[in-house]
């Protein structure tokens, strides 16, 4: 939990980025898988069992209202975990506790223990700025800054002093945009405002902006709910690619999306974590009756 960690992971990224062509090839092979298969994919990769994030008896209160009623959950390194559940079940709230975005909400209180790499993220000594540099976030509505495309992506690295010089910064921006699959579309207009892009491009720009900081974990709060199916497909493809390097936690209302992109799925219901299992199991033989009721569309 110090700045050296960030720089190390940045170096690591660069190594990966040198294998760019291979990377893009792979994503193209992947290209057809998004056409809606409701049946879950078989596990895409060997899941690690190294615990990245761990919640123990986590409670979240908004004033007197208990939004999360004691959750125990381990999230493994480099897995994609999807949070599903009906509206108001607390999945977004729980997502936001992981990078302490809940801090910005008045009257929000978290008890219990949530750790990132075995460090309690609610430790009063922890600097929330460092935490958010390690745990990036992509929001429901694309929210690029009203600045140029370049500045949008360069903002994070500049903020944290991750670029040695101008050329280094340009490289980071290009690599981030490449990883977000946006480079080819915007390389000739990096100086135009990011707000002038289409919705799907804006969301990919936001993802590029997030990965430019080289976080270890990316939180996505319904990243496709404001997008059309084609843009959604591109983002989902991107999530699959990113899972090679990042731990991804995604909240979604679309069960098809959860089935398509995630390794494991967690079902939330009224502030409780009902079930967490491999995505395949959740969608074929869920352990819990509520989960089954939800995924078969009886409510929610």
């Amino acid at each position: 939990m110090n700045t050296i960690d960030i720089t190390n992971s940045l170096e690591k990224d660069k190594l990966v980025n040198t294998e760019q062509s291979q990377f893009t090839d792979k994503s193209q092979n992947h290209g057809t898988s998004y056409v809606s298969h409701f049946e879950p994919q078989t596990s895409k990769k060997q899941n690690s069992t190294e615990i990245k994030i761990s919640a123990q008896d986590a409670h979240v209160y908004y004033g007197d209202f208990e939004a999360i009623k004691g959750i125990d959950l381990d999230i493994y390194k480099n897995e994609v975990i999807a949070f599903i559940g009906p509206s108001g079940c607390g999945k977004s709230t729980f997502l936001r506790t992981i990078n302490r975005m809940n801090d910005t909400i008045d009257g929000c209180r978290v008890t219990g223990k949530i750790t990132l790499d075995n460090h309690n993220i609610y430790d009063p000594n922890l600097d929330v700025v460092l935490l958010r540099a390690q745990v990036g976030m992509v929001f429901q509505k694309p929210n690029p800054f009203p600045k140029t495309i370049f500045d949008n992506v360069a903002y994070g690295p500049k903020l944290h002093g991750l670029a040695r010089d101008k050329y280094d910064l340009e490289e980071i921006v290009e690599n981030s945009l490449r990883k977000a699959g946006l480079w080819e579309e915007v390389k000739d207009r990096l100086n135009q405002p990011g707000t002038g892009l289409s919705g799907g491009q804006q969301q990919r720009l936001c993802i590029a902006r997030t990965i430019a900081v080289s976080p270890e974990v990316i939180l996505m709060d319904e990243p496709c709910s404001a997008l059309d199916p084609i843009a959604t497909a591109k983002i989902e493809e991107l999530i699959s690619d990113l899972s090679e390097q990042y731990t991804i936690v995604i909240v979604t209302h679309s069960m098809q999306q959860a089935a398509r992109v995630s390794d494991r799925t967690a079902y939330f219901h009224l502030g409780d974590l009902i079930e967490v299992n491999s995505t395949e199991k959740v969608f074929t033989q869920p352990d819990h009756q509520l989960t089954e009721a939800y995924i078969t569309g009886r409510f929610g």
Binding site: N99, M101, T104, D106, V129, L130, L131, R132, A133, G136, M137, F139, K141, N143, P144, F145, P146, Y155, G156, L159, H160, T195, C206, R209, T210, V213
Partner: protein, 465 residues
Amino acid sequence: MSTSNTSSPMDQNVFDPKAAAESRERRKQVIQKSLAKRHRKEKAFRYAGLSAVVIGLAFVALLFSSILAKGLPAFWQTSMNVPIYFDPKVIDAGPVPVRTQGETPAHYQERYVDWQTKMGMVDWDGIIVNGMIAKDPALANERDYLSSLYASSEAYRLRDMVFADPSLIGKKENINFLGDANVDVWLKGNIDRSLPDDQQQLEPEVRKLADELKAKGVLENTFNLNLFKNPDSRSSPAISGLAGAFMGSLFMMLIVIIIAIPIGVASAIYLEEFAPKNIVTDIIEVNINNLAAVPSIVFGLLGAAIFIGWMHLPLSAPLVGGLVLSLMTLPTVIITTRASLKAVPPSIRQAALGLGASKFQTIFHHVLPLALPGIMTGSIIGVAHALGETAPLLLIGMSAFVASIPTTPFDQSTALPVQVYLWQGNELRNFFEGRTAAAIIVLLALMIGLNSLAIWLRKKFEVRW
């Protein structure tokens, strides 16, 4: 439909096309009937709104046309161009004293003051009158009345010219003289010409003379730059101008800009973004809103008590006026700044925070630039409001008659709106009515300029997302 056959409301399930058509027709008629009423209401509302706008505009047009009709002629004033011969025989004060070798400064000073006194006693009016006769020899018969035609202070102006440049003595020069205020009133028809002699300001001979000279073109109506160059004057109303009040207002605006805007914007940012939401900040917020509604004259009392009574700052000074107006403007700046900070979409804050920007960075990199147009607009409108404020200035001595142009914020001064107030109460009513309207025009022009600047800034810096 088939699945809900069992439910009771669907008993008459037999489909009757005729009945269905009838019910459709009935429904249509019901809607059509209500439609007429709805459209009538909408139309009535639209006409009411339109007539409100028209009435409002009519009042504005009336205001502007009456002010312009009264004020514009005051920008032009009766004057005459006279060839002046600085006659050494009349200006008989001798040459300018030159300090001789070995003379003590005190002695030289004495000689110089002597010379000045002699110069002051020179018959300057005679020089002007001679000049007028030189221009039109027929005037020689009217010698006694000629000095009533020009403003009384013009003789002093001539004297000051020679003080400034003694080499003028013996030279000839064409000089513009402003007509006397009463002559101006008479020639512009601002006084009833049929009034009997005992109610006229001017003697009958002077009135006749003025009409003649006007017809001959000796007295002309020329653009009056003095209005912008001179301070107020009571002894010679014709030369009174706005320069003193304008500088006073300018100094006050600068003080308001230097004090109210930074403090207001900073406190708004703190209150909106950093301050914890608790009872203390709630009380502060309520009180700021209350302050915005406090009558401005109360701020004048406060200023008189604190800045003058306690801190002993000078009376009638733009410094004190600026401080009082700053206090008055602060709540406006704070409220508008907070409103524009609130208007920045929360998604931008979240984006920055999510990237690991600190609160300070989020606010200064993203929120503030987006709120800037609103902040500037609010500040400029606050300053424009302060520019037009009169009441608090009356209480700190800025309604005094000041016949000099202030050079620092510590000098005595009036302000533009106060000048309007002073002139409209002047006893030489029919002359100062035009002056008052002219001052209002200048004030309004400044206001409109400031407001246009606000609109332009908002348009220029507005970011669309």
